[in-house]
Symmetry: C2
């Protein structure tokens, strides 16, 4: 045990966390190609030896940022399940949570940047898309069972449509408005998507549902 | 006049075209950050002096690639107007044309890459998005006038939703399948979007409309 009473394993974990956090800031600022291992070591305040002990390559490091971003997003996803009273409300809270992270957490902003840039073809980046597609499909399935979603829709198809559409809205909001209009653009996207899929019983609720996608006011 | 009977201005235009074509290949392959002015000069077979005569910076060059991509896309857009017999058919032919270019023309693939990468914030890249949003809004307006689209929709809102959704589908198709499933994913996107917006009269035609978005068979 070290003097501070923490094990070598705990300290190695701290170093790894510091590296991933430093890498997120570099990737978010400079993108994948613009980021160097040297800059990450400096930003994280670790030696190059320590950096290479934890990560053998930049692709490896980018994969870790995407994995950490995805872990954060999943926690927001679980919180959405807790807050919502129906499958479609859950989808709205998830969109709200993802958008909130995207504008407030550098790990998420960096992970999304890495996941959408063509330069990162050698980085493991498929899982966040396929995971969210399957979460969406599950919620659509639950929505059909609850009579919220028309039973003529294939839940998997809607997963394959919703996640890319959501991704594109954040890309274009970034290009055109530095993400300042992200919540508004997501409400518009969901106004169209919900119009396509809800049952007549739920149709009058569309404005209330999309209204969930609003910035969280800090307490 | 030069020996070959062509004016200095014509030859300067040829050089500029060669540079933009070379830059498209470099940007498509290496992205914005990974591309150097040296590599573009070499790829285009011109001196650095000639390169800097036409383009003062990499951002300037990337802007020219995006502008050329957009010009190509607009020509496909005009062809779509000629082929289609209704506003919604025009939208389908445009989607088909854009997808075809994206998998077959390096200028378009490079332009889209530059337009979606976060690294290119200093590049002029808003116009393709805002132009296509306004073309889409015009077609929706015509669709409402023709009784194809429900008159409760705001055409501008649909422009702001359709173009980002389309952009996201191509990004995610690129990440998950190297764009091999692009046409299929676009048909699914439009199946959902059309379900939201068409009138009951047009609803039975949705499968035929989305069927337009298929790879063109080479003659």
């Amino acid at each position: 045990m070290a003097q501070d009473g923490r094990s070598r394993q705990q300290r190695a974990g701290d170093t790894r966390d510091a590296i991933v956090a430093g890498a997120a800031r570099e990737f978010d600022h400079r993108g994948y190609v613009g980021t160097s291992m040297d800059a990450v070591a400096e930003r994280a305040g670790v030696t190059k030896g320590a950096l290479y002990f934890h990560f053998t390559s930049k692709a490896d490091l980018a994969g870790a940022v995407i994995a950490e971003q995805h872990a954060i997003s999943r926690r927001y996803g679980e919180a959405a399940f807790a807050k919502a009273s129906s499958p479609l409300e859950t989808l709205m809270w998830m969109s709200q949570g993802l958008a909130t992270q995207m504008v407030s957490e550098v790990m998420v902003s960096a992970g999304i940047r890495l996941s959408t840039e063509a330069a990162t073809t050698d980085v493991a980046r498929a899982a966040p898309y396929t995971d969210w597609m399957s979460v969406t499909a599950d919620l659509v399935r639950a929505g059909i069972a609850d009579g919220q979603v028309q039973d003529t829709w294939d839940p998997e198809l809607l997963g394959r449509v919703v996640i890319p559409a959501y991704t594109g809205v954040q890309t274009v909001s970034d290009v055109l408005a530095g993400r300042r209009d992200l919540f508004e653009r997501l409400r518009e996207l969901w106004t169209v998507l919900l119009a396509a899929i809800v049952t007549d019983r739920v149709r009058p609720e569309i404005p209330r549902l999309v209204g969930i996608i609003a910035p969280t006011v800090a307490p």
